[in-house]
């Protein structure tokens, strides 16, 4: 865990975060963030930032976005009461159902928002990276919907473990390019997408899938994902009778989590928990729990926390969930951890799979393996906080994980 800063400074930084000061003019959340990219991309990022500031609050863009979110994505997504889990865990469990969003995860919120922006910025084509395939599918869907050609980079290892999503992308007309360099997972896919973008920074829009990367991506993705938390906040008050005691979400790059957390940051009584992939254990290379076990550094455009060795070489990570299997994390999470506003913890592969099965059998909802990490952590929390009112971000559905689940939970049962 990165060292915390002193309480007075932390309080001041939190106040600024709540005021909306971050990212600052340099694209930073406290010390984290920034823009560490080849010079070729600087003008593209400048254009993106200007376009974003021009359009994001524009009534016309907002109307287009709202229409797509409401009539195509299926927003608002419901807030479900987990009746059986509440009884089993002795707490009051609520689930924000991003699994019901079109294409099966929160990723579509950002994909359609960015695709609408790409169109307004005059992009001729889109590139995207994907880990679990969810962002690739979301990008393929959003781009098909808007008539933009899209190329999706996906690590060869992920292509293997998330095979169904590859076919889905292709059926929606996307070009899927397997990445065989580097670790052949999400990190290598981001590298390849960046290489593609560097080759045509004017005509290409890079549709980044998480709250990572150079400024303004962490901000842009947060703004597009914050609808999760905004809806959930209102729904909790209407359905659960008040704000939650604690909010949980899984953290890979951190997009679903920041989308859920950000609207609760000002609610100081609401505990916030980000859950990373504990993989096989705490050893370097055995997990993808960047905030829990990482140290500061620069990867793929931003200064944040990283899993790297003493030479600054990025570590290969391990997680049973492709979507969390990433050695970096969005800079705003590094910041929220440093000021202590959000607590970050980790859940290992086995415990996540157990939680996946428990949720499936108890509530009839098969979550993504990524999502299951948040449930496992909430279960632990409930054990020590009986009666707590817990909101969990159900970031996606598990259909995409059937190949992995067939090899693990379902082994010998099919």
């Amino acid at each position: 865990m990165s060292a915390m800063i002193d309480p007075a400074a932390a309080a001041e930084l939190l106040a600024r975060e709540i005021r909306g000061d971050f990212p600052d003019a340099r694209g930073r959340f406290g010390p984290f963030g920034g823009r560490y990219v080849p010079e070729t991309l600087i003008p593209a990022l400048d254009r993106l930032e200007a376009g974003m500031r021009r359009w994001l609050k524009d009534p016309d863009y907002q109307a287009d976005l709202a229409r797509e979110l409401n009539t195509w994505v299926g927003r608002p997504t419901p807030l479900s009461h987990a009746t059986t889990l509440s009884a089993r865990w002795g707490a009051d469990i609520w689930m924000k159902r991003e699994d019901l969003a079109h294409t099966g995860a929160h990723k579509i919120n950002s994909a359609i928002g960015q695709a609408l922006l790409a169109k307004r910025l005059g992009a001729k084509r889109v590139v995207a990276e994907t880990g679990a395939g969810q962002h690739g599918v979301a990008s393929a869907a959003a781009c098909a919907r808007l008539g933009l050609p899209v190329t999706v980079y996906m690590g060869a290892v992920d292509i293997e473990r998330q095979a169904p999503n590859v076919g889905r992308m292709k059926l929606m007309g996307a070009t899927v390019k397997p990445v065989t360099s580097g670790d052949q997972t999400l990190r290598a896919a981001v590298d390849e997408a960046l290489r593609d973008w560097v080759s045509d920074p004017n005509g290409t829009y890079y549709l980044l899938g998480s709250a990572i990367g150079p400024h303004p991506y962490p901000y842009l993705v947060r703004e597009l994902q914050a609808i999760i938390g905004r809806e959930a906040r209102v729904q909790m008050q209407a359905q659960a009778g008040g704000l939650p005691t604690a909010v949980f979400a899984c953290v890979g790059g951190g997009s679903n989590a920041i989308g859920m957390f950000y609207p609760f940051v000002a609610d100081r009584d609401v505990e916030i928990h980000g859950i990373e992939a504990g993989g096989r254990g705490p050893g370097l290379g055995d997990n993808a729990a960047t905030i829990c076990f990482g140290t500061p550094g620069v990867l793929q455009g931003a200064y944040s926390l990283l899993l790297h060795d003493e030479h600054g070489q990025i570590q290969e990570t391990h997680s049973v969930s492709a979507g969390l299997d990433y050695p970096g994390v969005g800079p705003e999470h590094a910041f929220l951890s440093s000021i202590g506003r959000v607590k970050y913890g980790s859940i290992g592969d086995d415990e996540a799979l157990e939680a996946l099965e428990e949720l499936s059998c108890s509530e009839g909802i098969l979550p993504a393996i990524e999502t299951a990490h948040a449930f496992a952590a909430a279960k632990r929390y409930a054990a020590t906080h009986p009666g707590a009112r817990i909101l969990i971000g159900l970031s996606g559905r598990g259909d995409k994980d059937m190949p992995t689940l067939t090899r693990t939970l379902l082994k010998g049962k099919l």
Binding site: P38, G182, R195, S199, H311, G312, Q313, I314
Partner: protein, 256 residues
């Protein structure tokens, strides 16, 4: 003397000889760690400036050739600390000024506090950091300057005019003028607009201008010569090393 001045001098020397300077890129410890210094010496015999690539796991601006070399070197255990140790301890170093080309994270991890002095002690004249744009570079540039080392600035064909002028104004060592958008390793046939872009860079820059990305043959160097002070040869040279051919012979071919 400031090490960064070495660089401009080396380029000027080539110019006096009536040819563009040859800036040669090699990945440290490639093709083999054991022959690092030997390879360096052979390249040094035919290059005016040498860029030594520090291998990194995520070389996002590099094409397949340099990715491969980088990966091989990492597997061989090449690290920044090892490179600096080797250079410092070398019985002889080439006369050509040495630049370290590295992505930011290995430098950060080494520590901006220790790195400039260690680099200077190793005979290094400066750094090229592809993922450190000017906006983020102040801290490192300042630390380097304290030891008289250069932080070479890159500019590209898509850099807007005003920005280009600002970047060139602060250039140190030389201006690295990227000849195309894209990653290293792809060949370019140098269209006319690249030449006028290079002219603009030269007009804006007090420092010498070297063109890089995609330089592979004498024809390209001939076409570029009137517009630049030097050319940077990267992937093509790494491929020569990969094939086990003589790097010096290849580089000499590029001396006009």
């Amino acid at each position: 003397m400031s090490k960064s001045l070495n660089i401009a001098e080396a380029i000027a020397a080539a110019k006096s000889a009536g040819r563009p300077a040859i800036v040669a890129f090699m990945t440290a410890g490639f093709p083999r760690r054991a022959t690092f210094l030997e390879t360096l010496t052979r390249i040094g015999s035919a290059a005016d400036v040498i860029e030594i690539g520090v291998p990194f796991t995520d070389p996002m601006a590099d094409g397949m050739t340099i990715q491969r070399a980088s990966e091989a070197a990492l597997k061989d255990g090449v690290t920044l600390a090892w490179i600096l140790d080797e250079l410092r301890g070398a019985a002889a170093r080439p006369a050509a000024p040495l630049l370290l080309m590295s992505y930011l994270n290995p430098l950060l991890r080494f520590g901006f506090d220790r790195l400039p002095a260690a680099a200077r002690a190793a005979g290094v004249s400066g750094f090229i950091v592809p993922d450190l744009p000017n906006e983020e570079g102040d801290e490192f540039a300042t630390a380097l300057k304290a030891e008289g080392l250069a932080l070479v600035q890159m500019v590209t064909p898509v850099t807007p005019r005003e920005r280009l002028e600002a970047l060139c104004r602060h250039a140190d060592g030389f201006v690295y003028a990227v000849t195309m958008t894209g990653i290293t390793g792809r060949s370019v046939d140098v269209p006319d607009e690249v030449l006028s872009y290079l002219d603009a860079v030269r007009a804006a820059s007090g420092a010498p201008v070297c063109a890089g990305f995609g330089i592979r043959n004498r024809g390209q160097v001939e076409r570029l010569a009137p517009h630049v002070d030097g050319v940077i040869v990267g992937s093509a040279l790494v491929e020569v090393l990969e094939r086990g051919e003589d790097p010096a012979a290849f580089l000499r071919e590029l001396h006009l």
